[in-house]
């Protein structure tokens, strides 16, 4: 009788282990630390990613996650962040990427010491070329930003003024292009698997950082009062991931 019980237990154990292995193969879960640097600016992003593998060969994966991005810099130019009807030739969502810019409506806020930390939900997509190499893209969708109040030099309508209290926009929302609100991170990356647990990523980052003026505003030609200014950061960096 004992033999049967032991055998049954072993079979059950094998089944559980096999099921778990099969289950983990269907997902790709990892935490990641990515660091990027550009001229007088940089960022550190810590993220959790939960992707589901799709397709017959399971080369594609798609998923969601969360990302904490800290951005810091010195004397960075932020330009008018919208409304999109003033900064682009047309403001149709998604197609706005292809719309011509209207720099004549841009003013510049030179934020002296930007430092923001944004917590956002992300969506992710990836493709596995082979066991070692993969590539992917991820983008922040919605979240919140905290950050340091600093001073900014607003150059608007031919005058230069100092706003002592510019602060990061608190609410982040992906609405495409110049419709976007707040601080949003996105990455295009190539991933190299060092081992079963660890992998290394080469990252191209496109980051929207947004500050609001407090005491001074831009007044657009149609009378619209604007207090949101955006720095579009292009930077390269690396990331290291720990897989589960």
């Amino acid at each position: 009788m004992k033999k049967y019980i032991v055998t049954a237990c072993l079979v059950l154990l094998v089944n559980i282990v096999t099921a778990q292995t099969a289950s983990t193969k269907k997902t790709n879960r990892f935490v990641d630390l990515a660091l990027t640097a550009g001229t007088s600016q940089g960022s550190a992003a810590f993220s959790y990613v939960h992707n589901w593998k799709i397709g017959k060969k399971q080369k594609w994966e798609i998923g969601i996650g969360g990302r904490l991005t800290s951005y810091f810099g010195t004397k960075r130019d932020y330009i008018t962040a919208g409304p999109a009807r003033l900064t682009r030739n047309h403001s149709i969502p998604f197609l706005i990427f292809f719309a011509d810019q209207k720099p004549e409506n841009w003013d510049t806020l030179n934020v002296q010491r930007p430092f923001t930390t944004a917590l956002n939900a992300t969506v992710n997509i990836g493709y596995h070329f082979n066991k070692k190499w993969s590539a992917g893209f991820n983008i922040d969708v919605i979240g919140l930003t905290l950050g340091r109040t600093t001073n900014g030099i607003l150059t608007s309508n031919g005058t230069t003024r100092n706003d002592a209290d510019v602060k990061p926009s608190a609410f982040n929302l992906l609405l495409t292009g110049d419709h976007d609100l707040g601080s949003l991170n996105s990455e295009l990356f190539i991933n190299y698997k060092l081992s079963d647990k660890w992998s290394l990523r080469g990252v191209y980052q496109f980051y929207f950082s947004e500050y609001k003026t407090n005491n001074l505003n831009q007044v657009a030609s149609d009378g619209t009062i604007i207090n949101r200014f955006r720095n579009k950061v292009n930077a390269f960096g690396i990331g290291i991931s720990r897989h589960f």
Partner: protein, 141 residues
């Protein structure tokens, strides 16, 4: 694995090799307006602010039809991003930037663009722009 960690450390070091804060020059300058100068305002002494020390005088001259702000016998505490403004306020909000402070000591000249009204722009200010700190100011009159 060790190899990988070293590799990552090297890449990170290269990525985050940051520039150091550059202080303003401390060369003794001796820029002179010349004999054709016409004083537009009196020589007014700097007042130090925010526990920094700024001494010397400020005076506006007209030379060849242009306005020039002269810092005379000037000396200031050093800082990373010092600028010279003429400003409507002691703590600048509305200001005209005349340029980076070229040195923390000596006689210096800064061109004033346009023809500002010194009843409105009544302060010369030494301002650390990056940290929004006034080092010193003088009344222009």
């Amino acid at each position: 694995m060790k190899k990988h960690i070293y590799l990552i450390a090297v890449i990170l070091s290269v990525l985050f090799y940051s520039c150091t804060k550059t202080a303003t020059s401390s060369d003794q300058l001796n820029e002179q307006v010349g004999s054709s100068r016409i004083p537009v305002t009196s020589a007014m002494a700097f007042t130090s602010a925010n526990s920094y020390t700024v001494t010397g005088n400020v005076r506006v001259y007209q030379k060849d039809g242009k306005l020039v702000l002269a810092l005379e016998n000037f000396k200031s505490t050093n800082g990373p991003d010092l600028r010279v403004y003429i400003s409507k306020e002691m703590q600048p909000v509305n200001f005209i930037e005349l340029g980076r402070l070229r040195s923390v000591q000596g006689n210096q000249l800064y061109d004033i663009p346009g023809n500002p009204d010194f009843n409105t722009y009544k302060f010369a200010v030494i301002h650390c722009q990056q940290f929004n700190r006034v080092f010193g100011f003088a009344t222009i009159k």
